[in-house]
Amino acid sequence: MNAEASSPTPAVEVTHLRKVYGGGRTEVVAMRDASLSIAPGEIVGMFGPSGSGKSTLLTAMALINPPTSGQIRIAGTPVMDGPQALVDLRAFRRQHLGFVFQKANLIPFLTALENVQIAMEVNDVPPKEARRRALELLRYLGVEARAGNLPVALSGGEQQRVAVARALANEPSLILADEPTAALDRTLGRQVMELFAKIAHERHAGVLVVTHDHRTLDVFDRILDVEDGMIKVRAVPHPPTP
């Protein structure tokens, strides 16, 4: 089953994606003929039980787990045709993708500011410019005051905000978030989800959030359920914001 958005140039477009692990008697089909499109400015929630194929789909879209077959286009650029990479994946990741995880995964020996700055510097942004933009992002996310702190000195919510700032560093077309609120309490989790919605709507990035948290359903423009490697559209809480 397909889950298509109506945007003419989707932030991401996955077509007939199939992923098979192993072979012969040990073959496991993790994803079956999945198609998905997320428009710029749209935030999509993806739900599903463990082992349903959510992570497989997410990692395939993150260009770190090539599909067995199917195509992936990001910001209109064909990037994967089956297991075949059509672009330099690492370069494409740094230019077009942003990632947020269950844990913030901040680099422990860099300050909050440097964690954001490094994402820009690896994308060849000059250090001074990267620093200025990183500060702007931290201000946007409300953690500017903690810019000089190491991750160990930040609260869980602050760490996750810095991680979001890092994901936004290179103004990506697509932000992939893997259970970003799992390690946060209800209030903080809600704040982070609302932050993603704000980013999608204000910065016009496509945002895909894999989550188990049903308390934040209202922030999503669309909700997808993944079961046995297949995507199902569950509901549309409100129309997608163009």
């Binding site: 993150a62 770190i64 690492r90 990741r93 740094r94 020996f109 690896v122 250090p127």
Partner: protein
Amino acid sequence: MNLAVRDIRHNAGRFAFTSVGIGLLLMMVMGMGGIYRGLIHEATLLVDRVGADLWMVQGSTRGPFAEVSRIPATLEDRARAVPGVAEARCFVSHTIQRQHHGRPLRMVVQGLSWPEDRGDWVPLVAGRPLRQAHYEMIADQSLKLPLGSRLRLAKDEYEVVGLTHGMVGSSGDGLAFFTVSDAISIQFDQPGEAVRLERAARRARVEGVDLGRLQPLLLDRAEGLSSGIPALPAPQVSAVLITLRPGADAAEVRRTLGTWPDISVYSTQEMRELLLSGMVDKARRQLGLFRTLLIIISTIIIALIIYTLTLDKIRDIALLKLIGARNTVIGGLILQQALLMGAVGYGLAWWIGRHAFPHFPRLVLIDPADLASLALIVVVISTLASLLGIWKAMRVEPNTVLSA
């Protein structure tokens, strides 16, 4: 942004401890080289300073620094008669060990050919050269004999009239300069009982032959001083040193002396090479092997610690890959850490060595060229050591971040 420096700052304690360890190892590598340079310096010090152009030594031998060399002191006079020779001096050198104030005192007894050579060429840090034919000595400071002190050797007492610094023999024992006759007295000193027994034996030998029975005077002579018996050879010296006249043809002088079948002649350069190719060469190889082992150990230690540091941040490396960092950024992080560790270790080695080496019992001579070559070696081993960590980092998949 320099990731290597930031990571090191974060792991400052571990980095510091490892660098100190590497520094101590490199100090030993540096020290081994310094000991070798010191050996050469000490071994050739005398040959270089004594100022001879040619060395006459016992025929078919390699001279006093390689083996026992005995030639008659009268060769000094024969050599002076050779055209082109400006000066000839007896050279006596032997090592003795005595008890002095309850401690062992080892010294190289060096004979100066009085009165031509009073030790004016010996670099003194205190006192004066010899001024009399007997009972004066110039001692190196390492012998710990103060100026004006008196030392009993053989049957005589010698006063320290001059002090040198760093004048030691190839074995590292301090040099002590005496007149040749004093040096010979010290070398051939025998206890009174041994002298009496020798004289009695001589008398017995003379009594056993017809001449002794016919010439009773010979019996009295046999019991007298050795120097009073013409048949006994004069005291022998280790070598005779020759200084050529300005403009003299050294090859011609050497050719002339070479026709004398009882001696061998060497130039100062040849004497130097003989010295170095013998004992010092073995020491050089021994120290060289130790240096190689220490360098290998240093490489392994740097490699292991860099590998451990890489393992510690494997998730961070995976994250860097996920956000698109190039391999050069990740490889550079590891390589820079290894190079920094090597550089800090090298700096510590230099600093510790600078303060520690002067207290070593033998001279440790750090040559700038050796320092430069060790710096290059440190760069090479640090680079090699980083390869293991880089190899591990290159194998990390970006999705390690998600699975962790």
